[in-house]
Every structure is written in C-alpha cells, then in structure tokens.
Symmetry: none
Subunit: 208 residues, 4 copies
DNA sequence: GATTAAGCGAGACGGTACGTCATGTCTTTGT
DNA sequence: ACAAAGACATGACGTACCGTCTCGCTTAATC
C-alpha cells in the first residue's frame, strides 16, 4: 500500500503497439470494419489492455489517427519573405500527408470517429485542424503587419477553406492534386472579382 | 411470358416509410448507433424488405440522407444582376438546410456512410455536392461573361471551398453562422492580398 | 349465386405434384430441412396453392409420407393355413417398404411431423399403424378360432411390438434385417420361457 | 507456455442452466417450437455460450433429453429369484419415467433430434436404448443360466420389443399403461401359440 | 359470346429464428 | 499487480423460412 507504483509498470510498448496496429487496420479495413479484437491480436496484447487505456473504439481511433496524420505539420515555421511562396509551402505541407499511403484513410477514420462520438467530436477536430489553422493564421498575421494582406480579413476563414476543401476531397475519394489547391490559393490570394465591385463592407451578418 | 411484372408489385409505401424512418433514426441516434432492425421496426416493415432494396446500411443512409438534405437543389436559379447579393443567397440556400433540425446529423451520416462504403463514396458525394457546385459555377460563369469575374478563375474551387467549409463545421460540431460564411464570401470575392502582389500566374502545378 | 362450384376447378395435377415433390424432398433433406417454398418450386406450383389445401408443413408431410409408405395396406389378406408362414409374410410386407429407397426417411418424417403437431399426432399414427395392426390382429384372430393361438392374448400388443421394433430401428438408423424381425417373431410365437413357469395370470394392472 | 488452460474457465453453472432450460422448454413447447434464443434467455446466458458448446439445436436437445429421461435407470440391479416379478419391475422402471411430467415430451424431442441430425442419430438412440437393453439382457442371461429361459432366444429382440412399444405409444400420444406393457410381458414370457406348433427352427434368415 | 368467380404461378410483404460476430466486462493462469 | 488469454452477457448482423397478401393470367360455369 505504498500507493504510487506497486506491481508491474504499464508497458509503453503495449501502448504504442496498439496505436500502430490501429493505424494499420484503419488503413486496411476502414473505421467500420476494424474491430477491437483484431487490434489486440495484431498488437499482441490482451483485449483488456486496450480497454484499460481507452474507453471506446472511437477514442482509440481518434488518438491513433491524429498521431498518424498531423505530427508532421509542426515542422518548420514556414517563413520566407514571399507570401505566395509561403502559402504554397503551407498547402503542400498540409496536403502531402493526406496523399501518403493511408493518409486519406486516417482522415476518413477521423471523420467516422467524430461522427460516432458526440462528446469528443468537437475537440477531435479541434486537435486536427488547429495546428494547421495556427500555422496559416500566424504567417498571414505577419503579412498583415507588413501590409501584404488586408487587415479586415477573417484569417480563420482562409484556414477553414483549405481544410474543408481537403476534407471534401478525402471523403468523396477524389484525388488530391496540387493543382486544385493552387487554384484555391489563387482565389484566396486574389479573389475572383475584377475589382469593379469595390471593397466589400462587413456590416451584415445576423446568423441563424 | 413477358416475365417483367409478375408477382406482387413492390410497395412504395414501404419504400418511403423506410427512408423516413432512417432519416428520423439518423437524427436521433447518428449513423453508428442506428440499426437496420430499428429502421424496420420504426417503418413497420420486415427486415428483409429493407435488405431487398438496399444492400447495406450505407446504401440506405445514402439515399435517405440525400433525399433529406438536398431537395433544395431544385430551388430558384438565383439570378439578380448583383453578384454579391446572389453569392449571399447561394450561401444561405446552402447553409440553411444544415441548420434545420437534423440537417447536420444527416450530413454527418452522409460522411460516415461514404467513409464506410468504398464503392458508393464517390458517387454519394457527387450527388450531394454536384447540385450546389452546379448552381454556384453557373451563376459565376454568367458573371464571367458580364466581366464581373476574372475569366482565369477555377470556379469549382470556389464551390469546394464553400462546401468544404460547411462540412468542416458540421463534422467538428461547430455552429454554422452566416457571419462565418460571409467572411468566406468576402475572401472569395475580393481575395486577401492588398493587390500589390499583382495577378498570379498559373503555370506551376502538375502532380497528384 | 348458387354458390357451389363456380370458377376454375382445383387442379389435381397440382395436388399430386405437391405430394410427389414433398416425398422427394423428405427423402433428400429430411423433415426439418425441407421447406414449403422448395416444395412449391419443385412442384412448379405457387406457394399459395400449397397453403390452400394444407394448413401446415406437418399436414403436407403427413399426407405425403403416408401415401408413400403405407399403400401396401391394401395388399393380400395373407392367409395360408400355416400361422408361421403367414406371420413371416406379414413381417416381410411390413418391413420391406421401409427398406426401399427412402422408406426409412419417410417414416422418420412421419415421426417428426407427429412430434411437431400436437393435434394431428395421434390420428397420424393411427392411420400409419392401424392398417398393419388390423392385418395382424385379423390373421391372429383367425388363428385363435382354429386354436393355434391362446385366446387370452392381447393381440394388439403383438402388433405394437412389431411396429415399435421397426420404428426403433428406423429412428436409430440401424439396418432393418429379416433376421432381427424373425427373432422377434420367434419370441412372439413361442415366448422365451421354458414353460416351467406355467400360464401367467392377468389380474394385476390398473394404472396409467 | 503450457498453453493448455489459460483464460477464463468454462462455467459449469452456464452449462447446467442451459440443459435445464432446454428440458423445460422442450416440455412446454416441443422440439420444433423451442428456439435457441429462448433457451439462452431462460438460462440467463448469451446465445454464443450455447453455440460455443453445442453445434446445433439437435445436439443440445440430445444431451438435455438424455440427461432428463434416462439417468434413473441405472438404479437397482433388479434381481429377485422370480423371473416374472423382475420383468414386471424392469418394465415399470422403464415406463414410469416416460409418464412423469414431461417424460413423453422428452422422448418425442429425442425422436425429432435424431431424425434431424444424420450424424448423431445412431449414437443418440444407442445411448437411450442401451442402458435398458443391458438391464434386460443381463437379467435374462441369468435366467438362461438357471434354465428359466430358453438358450436359443435372441435377448436383444425382447428389449427392442419393449422399447419400440414404448416409443410407438409416445409418438402416437397414446397413454402408457402398465396393462399394455404387462400384456406385452405376457406375450414375451409365454408366447402366443398353444404349443402345438412345436419348437420353431431358426434356420431361415437372409435379409434384404 | 360475355360475364364472373375462383384457382393458378409468381413473388413481395410483416414476422421471427437462425447461426455468426463484435462490444465491453470478468475471471482465470502466467510472469 | 499487470499482462495474455479467452469465456461471458448482450445484442446487431444478414439470410432463410413461414404463412399472408397482391398481382395478372387462365379456366370453367353462369348468364
């Protein structure tokens, strides 16, 4: 009854084997066809060991898929002095993981898990989208300071447009091409209007 | 011996009761917690009658959710002579169904179904996204003709940004506000740059 | 509105095709694995036509199996002047149908049908066992008259022993050999005791 | 790495609850109307636990009914020095279980199960009939030694006649009276002929 | 000959049981 | 005390069959 650490300590090996196995099965079978029993067998772990650390299939998937998709974005600060170059780099950093073997499957799994679990849905996507959103808004804020970007723009919308477009392509199983995202970058940077419309005002906005 | 229409004809009553029950359960329980047995009970239909017409839960959900979410497609052509007004109207027509009771749940169900079913994923989203995409690109194409919109813009990207942003908010269970979408419209119409960057070229862009 | 016989008359072709198909399927699949749908398909008949004439699977089987197993009932009166010869003939007439291709299966079907249907069980076996019982008791009664058989013997018991022995062999899927039944005939005709026990009295015996 | 007995051991409680529930439902509903689901519910057991130990309804019923009908026969050796008394006792020991509440139903279930399952049919009846057969032949063999019974009698036939007669009555849902079986005992002990026929020869017997 | 009523093959219907599989819990032995 | 193994209660899965119910077609007897 020393309390803190009696008996055999928890195995970090088991933990990472479970996440790795989950990732592999998610890519092979998809969220719905993957089972906890198979995760345990693949990870060479008892089923109870899985349930000791995570409460449900959705939770395991959330952690496994997040670890599999997003860790690579916390890479470089992405800052040259050219806004266009940097936006392109941001987009590439963002879309490439999704194109790697299984990346799309993991994002689809994230979507299924978040749809399944009412409680963790919001925070799950927050954790998925926030790093990207932070990288984008940070670079753009710098551009606002320099005067390259208008100071009345809602920068979060730009991030949402990028992430949302990616999500749409992943869920609809369309290929994710740089061309598509560069066309989007084009729209975001320059807009679509010829400018004859004048600067839009931002006054109206009572939502439902 | 025509062989075509022998035996008892299929019951349209049963068909629509199944779709209606599916819709209701999708809103109440979500994709994963909804069961085919409960659909059958709620629709006062035998389980076999469900499986006779649809091969899987994903297929039923695809049809039911599409019928429930997108019938707005056949609305008005949306055409005043003011591009800004029309873009706002398009956005409103698109986001309002998602905010109505259950609209978000149906879109989440659509996402889960498409993630679950490899085969029907693409066509499912095609049917969901295409009507909106068509309405948007059609209106913008008219604006291109008049000279309100640049003629080198990839109009599909605009639609994807709108639809993707909606999808992101629905899956992350954020509220869908007009303000958010109007900020997005602002970006899309006018861009974010101060214009000092000049017209972007479109030369670089071949990879997957 | 005479009410008696308007409309299309019932098809005797259909009726006999159903019974024939039932018999075939009973032999191929056994009682439990045979289905009414397959009867209908095999007989090239609508399922409703089956249910128009019989209320349940047990009823169809009862009629089909009886028609298939016991038509030997209307054979010869079996009467030479030698009791031993005649008992042997009776046994042979009785056991041979069971050995023909499918005979055992039909008897097993009869057993299953009677076990399944509380109501028709008694009458079913009555129809199966009674003709045989009648033939046996009739011949023995004649022997009693002549003095070949004791007049205090319960002749029904003799028939039951024969039929029951057959039934036991069929249900336990043992081969049905003449040797077995002739040994039984030996016991029945002569008894097993050496005779030193004297004639048994019949006084004790009231309970259920 | 013994590999033999790891994991949770099988629950004997569950096992006996299943057999008990099966017996109860067999008596209430009969073989055909009893369902595995109801067995599981009644035994407060998961359906999978039933299927883990038995492959089919027929197998469960075989074991349950045998345990319910026959264990009481391994009673006393039944041996006074009076053959008649002992045969009567044997018969009583044999027919009484069938008359107890549900005994007939269990025997009918045994018949249905053996008709349904090709493989286990023979061994099933062997296990049902053999204890009785052994008891009878053993007692009679002793009688042969003393000289009370002829030494050329096929003793198995006597057992078959008794068991078969019981079976016939059970399946045809006739009441099982001692009177009937005592009449049969009378025939078996003394035969039916007046003796003028002389001792039968046993030479003929080529079966079909 | 036209009408009419019933039987016909076909096959979808509302139910219910099947036997399998997954979830999340519980109870063993092994380390 | 934790891990692996795996049995447990629960309950959904997708299939099969039951017995009923339309369909459109065919077949007489009645008009």
């Amino acid at each position: 009854m020393t309390g803190s650490s009696r008996g055999r300590p928890r195995s970090e090996t088991a933990r990472s084997a479970i996440l790795e196995a989950t990732r592999a099965l998610l890519i092979e079978d998809g969220y719905e066809d993957m089972t906890v029993s198979r995760i345990a067998v693949r990870a060479e772990v008892g089923k109870q060991t899985v349930y000791r650390w995570w409460k449900s299939k959705a939770e395991i998937v959330a952690e496994a898929a997040l670890n599999g998709v997003i860790p690579m974005e916390a890479e470089q600060p992405v800052a040259t002095d050219d806004l266009v170059t940097d936006v392109y780099t941001l987009i590439r950093n963002f879309t490439e993981p999704a194109n790697e073997r299984g990346g799309s499957a993991l994002i689809r799994a994230l979507a299924s898990a978040s749809a399944a679990s009412e409680t963790s849905g919001a925070q799950l996507w927050e954790r998925f989208a926030e790093p990207t959103r932070a990288a984008i808004t940070q670079r753009l804020a710098a551009a606002v300071d320099i005067g390259d970007v208008r100071d009345d723009v809602e920068l979060g919308s730009v991030a949402d447009a990028l992430i949302g477009s990616l999500l749409l392509r992943v869920l609809s199983r369309q290929p994710i091409t740089s061309a598509d995202f560069e066309a989007l970058a084009d729209v975001i940077l320059c807009g679509i209007s010829t400018g004859s419309l004048g600067q839009r005002s931002t006054e109206r906005s009572e939502d439902s």
